[in-house]
C-alpha cells in the first residue's frame, strides 16, 4: 500500500467553519419555544439551607418556574462517581441542586426557568435563601486532622486511602530496605496548587424533551458516558436519551464530567415540557466547574553516593474538594504508576489519602495525576544531583532504562514496550546548546549579574491510550477502555467514518480521514468523519487521556480492514477469480498476475445495486470494529528550559525552550505540533501563572481572568520542538499519544530552571506558581536565613 496521507501536515478540515463564524456550539442552537435557565448559587462554602423563598422570583416578569432542591429531591438522584478506588470509599450524596446544605461556594441552590436569558438572570437576585453558616475546612493538612468536617454526616474528611507497595505487589523490593540503608536520602514536600481548566467555550447544555426521546446537546467531552450516566442518575431509560456534543470549544478534562447543570437542565425540561438551555458565565465556570491538581506530595528518594536511585516513597494528600465527580477519586491513582517515570528503581511505595474540603470538587485536568507524579520525580532528581554535586542530566542517564532494555517491566508493574531516552536527550542537547548556556550561567554568577540564568531539565514518560479494560477493572473503574468505530461505504464510493472518539479541538476529523484515505486508497476529501452524536455514533467511550489515536484510531483501521475483506469477496466474484488471488493496493482490487482490476467505488455501487453478488453475500460493505488495547502506550521526551530570573524584581522569563518528544508514529505533524505547543503553555501556566486561591471563608478569590492568570501568546517564548520516533509496539500504527505530553514535562522543567538560577543565592524551593513576588521573597529570605523551604 502506498502511504500518502499518514505523516502529512494537512491543514485541519474542521478549522474552516470554526474560524469563520460558522461554528455550532451548544449556545448557538436555538429551538422554538426554548426557555432559559440561570442558577442561584451559594455564596457560602459550607452552610445549612434553612429556608428558600422564591416567591418574588416566581412573579418576576418572564419567569416560568423556579426549581429548588426540595422540588426535585425525589427525582434528581446523586451525580455519579465512576471510580470507587477502594471498597470502603466514603462519598457524600451529590445532588444536582443542594437540598439541605451546601459544601462549596458556587454550589447550585435553585434554578430559574424563564422566557429569556435576561429575565432568568434578573430573577436570580430575587431568590431569598437563608443559610446557617458552618465552619469550613480548606487546607489538606487541616482536613487530615478531622477537626472540622467538610461533610459532618460522613464523620470524617477521609474518602479513601490507596496503597501500592512494590514489595507486596511483587514488582520490586520493600521500600523499607531502600530507606533504611540509604546512603543519601532526599526528603521533600511539594505542593501541586489547585488549577482551573479554563477551556475557551464555557459549558452549555440544551435539552429538548419534546418528541419520543430526550435530546441533550452539551459542551462535553463524553457524549456516550453522559448518556449512560444521565439515564442512570435520573432514572430515564437509556434508549430514551440522545446526547449530542456539537462543536465543543476545548475541555482539557474539564468537560470530562457529568455536571449538576446538565442534570438540572434535563430536570427543567422535564418539568416544563419545553426545550431548556443553560449557558454558564465565565465567573460560574471558574467557580463551579471542576478544578484540577490540588495535592500535597511528601516524598523520599533514596540513593547511593554515586547516584543510583534505590527507592522512592510517596505520601500523597489529594484534595477531592466537596464531592466526588466522575473520576475525582481516581486521578491520583493515574499518577501512582508514573512516579518512577523513566527510571529503574528497585523499590517503590505510594500511599494516597483522598480528602474532602469545602471547595469545588477536583477531577481530571490535562494529564490527570501524571503531571503531578512527573513533577515530583523530576524535582527530586534535580535535588539529588545538587546533593551529590552531579550534573542533573548525567544523574538521570545513570538511572533511566536504556533503549536496549525494552520491553521493561517497571517497579510500578507496567510493561514499557519501547522507548529511547538516549536519542531524545541527545537531540534536545544539540538543539539547546547546553554547554554554551552552562558557560554563560557561570559567567553571570561570577559577575553577580542582576539577571541570573538557570537550566531546567525534565525527562518524562506517561501512560497513554487509556486503557486496557482489564486494567481498569483491576483498578475498580466502572467502565472499560475500548473504543468503537464504523466505516461505511456509500454507493458513490465515498466513505463515512463514525467514531466513538468525541473531538473537542483535537482534529480527529482530519486525522481519521488521513488514516482511512491511506487504508482504503481513497482521496482524503472523499472521507467524512462523523462523531459526537449517540444516534449516529451508537457506541463509544469518548475522548480523554491521550487515547483517541491509539485506541479510537485503531478501531477505525480495524473497521476499514473489515471493509476490504468484504469487498474482496465481491471483487473476486466480479472478476471471476478466486479470493486468494485478489490483491488490494491503492484503492484497487486486482487479480494477481493479470492486468484485471476493479476499484473500491465500483464494488461499492455493485453492492448497492446488489444485482449480481456472490450467493449468500449480504449486500453491505459497512463494518464495525471495537478495539480494546492490550497495553498502554508510553510516549516520552526530554525538555530543556533556559530560565532568566531578574533578582531585583523576581520576574522570571523563559529565554529558550527546547523539547524533543517521542510520540511514536505521527499521523499529522501539524496537529502534533499544535498539541505540543498548547500542552507546553498549560504546563508553563502551572509553573509560573495559574493558581485557584480561596479566602479564609472558602470564597474563590481568583474568580475572573483578572486574577486567575492564564498566559497568552506574548507571555510564551518561541518553542523549539522536535521529535524522535520510536514506534509503539502496542498498536499496529506505532502511535503513542500526544495530548498531554507538553503539559506533563514543562512544569518541572520550568521550576527546575528557576531554582537552578537562584539556588547558589541560597534559595532551596519556591512554591508554584513561581510569581515574581514569591521569587523575590525567597531571595530576600535566603539573604537572612541562607535559604527558604
Amino acid at each position: 500500500m502506498t502511504i500518502t496521507e499518514v505523516g502529512r501536515s494537512r491543514l485541519r478540515k474542521e478549522d474552516a467553519h470554526l474560524i469563520t463564524g460558522r461554528s455550532r456550539y451548544t449556545d448557538n442552537i436555538t429551538l422554538p419555544g426554548m426557555l432559559h435557565l440561570a442558577m442561584v448559587r451559594s455564596p457560602f462554602a459550607h452552610a445549612k439551607i434553612t429556608s428558600i423563598d422564591a416567591s418574588a422570583a416566581k412573579s418576576s416578569p418572564g419567569v416560568v418556574a423556579v426549581l429548588t432542591g426540595a422540588d426535585v429531591a425525589a427525582e434528581q438522584g446523586s451525580l455519579p462517581n465512576a471510580w470507587p478506588i477502594t471498597p470502603d470509599q466514603k462519598a457524600p450524596a451529590h445532588p444536582a441542586i443542594a437540598v439541605d446544605a451546601v459544601a462549596f461556594a458556587g454550589e447550585v441552590v435553585a434554578c430559574i426557568i424563564a422566557r429569556s436569558a435576561a429575565a432568568a438572570r434578573d430573577a436570580v437576585e430575587l431568590v431569598d435563601v437563608s443559610y446557617e453558616e458552618l465552619p469550613v475546612v480548606l487546607d489538606l493538612e487541616e482536613a487530615l486532622k478531622d477537626e472540622v468536617l467538610a461533610h459532618p454526616d460522613l464523620g470524617t474528611n477521609k474518602s479513601a486511602t490507596w496503597i501500592f507497595d512494590s514489595g507486596e505487589a511483587g514488582t520490586g523490593k520493600p521500600i523499607s530496605e531502600a530507606l533504611n540503608g540509604a546512603e543519601v536520602l532526599i526528603e521533600r514536600t511539594f505542593y501541586q496548587q489547585r488549577l482551573i481548566p479554563a477551556f475557551m467555550e464555557p459549558r452549555s447544555t440544551l435539552v429538548d424533551p419534546t418528541g419520543e426521546q430526550i435530546t441533550v446537546w452539551s459542551a462535553t467531552q463524553i457524549p456516550h458516558i453522559l448518556r449512560l450516566m444521565l439515564a442512570l442518575t435520573l432514572g430515564i431509560p437509556e434508549s430514551k436519551v440522545r446526547v449530542i456534543a456539537p462543536d465543543v470549544g476545548g475541555g482539557f478534562g474539564g468537560k470530562l464530567q457529568v455536571t449538576p447543570e446538565e442534570a438540572i437542565t434535563v430536570l427543567a425540561a422535564r418539568h416544563t415540557g419545553k426545550p431548556c438551555k443553560y449557558t454558564e458565565t465565565r465567573s460560574e465556570s471558574l467557580m463551579a466547574a471542576h478544578h484540577g491538581r490540588a495535592q500535597v506530595q511528601k516524598v523520599k528518594l533514596a540513593a547511593t553516593k554515586d547516584g543510583i536511585v534505590t527507592g522512592l516513597d510517596v505520601h500523597l494528600l489529594a484534595d477531592m474538594g466537596a464531592y466526588l465527580g466522575l473520576v475525582t477519586s481516581g486521578v491520583p491513582i493515574l499518577g501512582a504508576f508514573m512516579y518512577n517515570s523513566i527510571y529503574k528503581f528497585p523499590a517503590y511505595r505510594f500511599e494516597c489519602t483522598n480528602l474532602f474540603t469545602n471547595k469545588a470538587w477536583t477531577d481530571a485536568y490535562r494529564g490527570a495525576g501524571r503531571p503531578e507524579a512527573t513533577f515530583a520525580i523530576e524535582r527530586l532528581m534535580d535535588e539529588l544531583a545538587v546533593e551529590l554535586g552531579m550534573d542533573p542530566l548525567e544523574l538521570r542517564e545513570k538511572n533511566w532504562i536504556k533503549h536496549e532494555e525494552f520491553p521493561f517491566t517497571t517497579v510500578a508493574g507496567l510493561e514499557y514496550d519501547s522507548g529511547n531516552y538516549e536519542a531524545a536527550t541527545a537531540k534536545a542537547l544539540e538543539l539547546f546548546g547546553y554547554d554554551e548556556l552552562r558557560a554563560e550561567q557561570v559567567r553571570r554568577r561570577e559577575a553577580n549579574d542582576p539577571v541570573q540564568l538557570g537550566i531546567g531539565i525534565s525527562t518524562f514518560t506517561e501512560m497513554c491510550g487509556l486503557a486496557p479494560s482489564r486494567v481498569l477493572g483491576a483498578l475498580s473503574y466502572a467502565a472499560g477502555g475500548w473504543e468503537h468505530a464504523q466505516v461505511r461505504v456509500l454507493p458513490t464510493g465515498n466513505i463515512e467514518v463514525v467514531t466513538g472518539s468525541s473531538a473537542h479541538g483535537q482534529g480527529h476529523e482530519t486525522a481519521w480521514s488521513q488514516l482511512v484515505a491511506d487504508r482504503l486508497g481513497v482521496p482524503f476529501e472523499n472521507v467524512e468523519v462523523l462523531h459526537g452524536d449517540t444516534q449516529t455514533s451508537q457506541r463509544g467511550l469518548d475522548t480523554y487521556g491521550s487515547r483517541s489515536l491509539t485506541v479510537g484510531g485503531m478501531a477505525v483501521l480495524a473497521a476499514a480492514d473489515k471493509v476490504i475483506e468484504k469487498a474482496k469477496v465481491v471483487a473476486a466474484h466480479m472478476m471471476e477469480a478466486s479470493e486468494e488471488d485478489i490483491e488490494f493496493t491503492d484503492g484497487k482490487f486486482s487479480v494477481k498476475g493479470t492486468d484485471q482490476s476493479t476499484a473500491l467505488g465500483e464494488i461499492a455501487f455493485a453492492v448497492f445495486s446488489a444485482h449480481n453478488l456472490p450467493d449468500g453475500f449480504e449486500p453491505n460493505l459497512d463494518s464495525n470494529a471495537t478495539f480494546d488495547p492490550q497495553n498502554f502506550s508510553f510516549p516520552h521526551g526530554t525538555h530543556l528550559a533556559a530560565m532568566e530570573v531578574d533578582t531585583e524584581t523576581g520576574q522570571v522569563t523563559i529565554r529558550k525552550y527546547v523539547c524533543v518528544d517521542d510520540v511514536g508514529v505521527v499521523v499529522n505533524p501539524l496537529i502534533v505540533e499544535g498539541q505540543v505547543h498548547g500542552g507546553l503553555a498549560q504546563g508553563i501556566a502551572q509553573a509560573l501563572y495559574e493558581e485557584a486561591v480561596h479566602d479564609d471563608a472558602g470564597t474563590l478569590v481568583t474568580g475572573s481572568f483578572v486574577d486567575y492568570l492564564v498566559p497568552s501568546a506574548p507571555d510564551l517564548p518561541h518553542f523549539t520542538t522536535a521529535r524522535t520516533e520510536t514506534p509503539s509496539t502496542t498498536n499496529q500504527l506505532g502511535a503513542k499519544g500526544v495530548g498531554e505530553a507538553g503539559t506533563i514535562a514543562s512544569t518541572p522543567a520550568i521550576v527546575n530552571g528557576v531554582l537552578d538560577a537562584v539556588r547558589h543565592l541560597g534559595v532551596k524551593d519556591i512554591k508554584m506558581p513561581c510569581t515574581p513576588s514569591r521569587v523575590w521573597a525567597a531571595l530576600e529570605e535566603a539573604k537572612t536565613t541562607g535559604g527558604v523551604q
Partner: protein, 284 residues
C-alpha cells in the same frame, strides 16, 4: 453576563449631554469607551438606571496644539494617544504609557478621558498625567471648571468630577525635548499594572536639570515621587546617582496587598522600577 436593564441616551453635543444629565437624576453613568463600565455592568457590580453614551460627540475627540500645551479631547482613544504625532513630539510619556494599556482591541475602544475619570489605581494613564501637571477641563451645569491634576484624583475610583459634570478636555503642558519612559511591571502581558513608574527628565550638560516621576498603583490614587524628583535635580547622569535618588521612591506611598504582591514588595518594586524608568528616560 447580562447587565440589569437601563435607559440609554446618546447625545450629539456636550450641551445636549449636560441636559440629559440634569434630567437623569443620580443613578447615571457616562459611557466613554466602555472598557471598564461595560464589564462591571455585565458582572452586575454596577447597575446604573441610565447610561449616557458620549461616543457621538465629535468635539470630544482629538489632539490639538494649544500654544505651550496640547489640548486632548476626553474621548481620544488610547490608540490615538499612542500614535499621534503631536503627542510623540511634545508628550512622549503619554504615548509610551498609552501603548502599554491592555491590548490593541481595548486601546482602540478605550479612551484617555474615560481612563482618567475611572481613576483605577492600577490604570496606566493617571500617573503620567499627574506627572505632567495637566489641567482637567470639566463642563457642568454652571459652565466650565478647571481642576489641576494634583487635585483631580481623590481616592479609589474617585475624582473631582461632580455629578452632572463631564470631563471634556485635558490640557497637558508640552515637555518637548524631555526624555520619557513608562516602566510597567506585570506578570502577564495583558494585566493591570502591579506597579508602574512614569518618568520624564530634562538633561542639561551631563546632569539632570529637572525630573517628574509619577507612580501607578502605589496608593489609592496616582502619586508623584517628589523625593526622587528633588534628589535627581542636579544629579550627574550616572546609573549610580539615579539608583541613589530612586531609593526614595516608596516614601509617602501606601500600596495595597493582593495576590500579585504585598505592600513591602510593591515598595521595593517602586524603587527598582523608578531607577529603570529614569535610566531609560535619560537615555543611559
Amino acid at each position: 453576563m447580562i447587565p440589569s436593564a437601563f435607559d440609554y441616551a446618546a447625545p450629539a453635543t456636550v450641551a445636549e449631554a449636560l441636559g440629559v444629565l440634569a434630567d437623569a437624576g443620580d443613578d447615571v453613568k457616562l459611557l466613554a469607551g466602555g472598557q471598564s463600565l461595560i464589564p462591571v455592568m455585565k458582572l452586575r457590580l454596577a447597575d446604573p438606571a441610565m447610561v449616557v453614551d458620549l461616543g457621538r460627540i465629535g468635539e470630544l475627540s482629538g489632539v490639538r496644539d494649544d500654544g505651550d500645551a496640547l489640548l486632548i479631547g476626553a474621548m481620544t482613544t488610547h490608540h490615538q494617544i499612542a500614535t499621534d504625532p503631536l503627542i510623540a513630539e511634545h508628550l512622549p510619556l503619554l504615548a509610551k504609557a498609552a501603548a502599554t494599556v491592555a491590548d490593541p482591541q481595548v486601546r482602540h475602544r478605550g479612551t484617555f478621558g474615560g481612563a482618567l475619570v475611572h481613576a483605577d489605581p492600577a490604570g496606566d494613564m493617571p500617573a503620567p498625567v499627574l506627572a505632567t501637571d495637566a489641567t482637567f477641563i470639566l463642563a457642568g451645569p454652571n459652565g466650565e471648571r478647571r481642576v489641576a491634576a494634583a487635585d483631580f484624583f481623590q481616592g479609589y475610583f474617585t475624582t473631582a468630577v461632580d455629578d452632572g459634570e463631564i470631563l471634556t478636555h485635558i490640557r497637558v503642558p508640552k515637555y518637548t525635548g524631555w526624555g520619557a519612559h513608562y516602566e510597567k511591571f506585570t506578570r502577564v502581558a495583558q494585566q493591570w499594572s502591579i506597579v508602574a513608574v512614569a518618568a520624564m527628565v530634562r538633561v542639561e550638560g551631563g546632569t539632570i536639570a529637572e525630573a517628574r516621576i509619577g507612580l501607578t498603583n502605589m496608593a489609592s490614587t496616582p502619586l508623584r515621587a517628589t523625593a526622587v524628583e528633588q534628589a535627581l535635580v542636579g544629579a550627574p547622569l550616572t546609573r549610580e546617582a539615579i539608583a541613589t535618588a530612586s531609593a526614595h521612591a516608596a516614601e509617602g506611598t501606601d500600596p495595597a496587598s493582593d495576590l500579585n504582591g504585598d505592600a513591602a514588595y510593591r515598595r521595593h518594586l517602586a524603587e527598582v522600577l523608578t531607577k529603570r524608568a529614569v535610566i531609560a528616560a535619560a537615555g543611559l
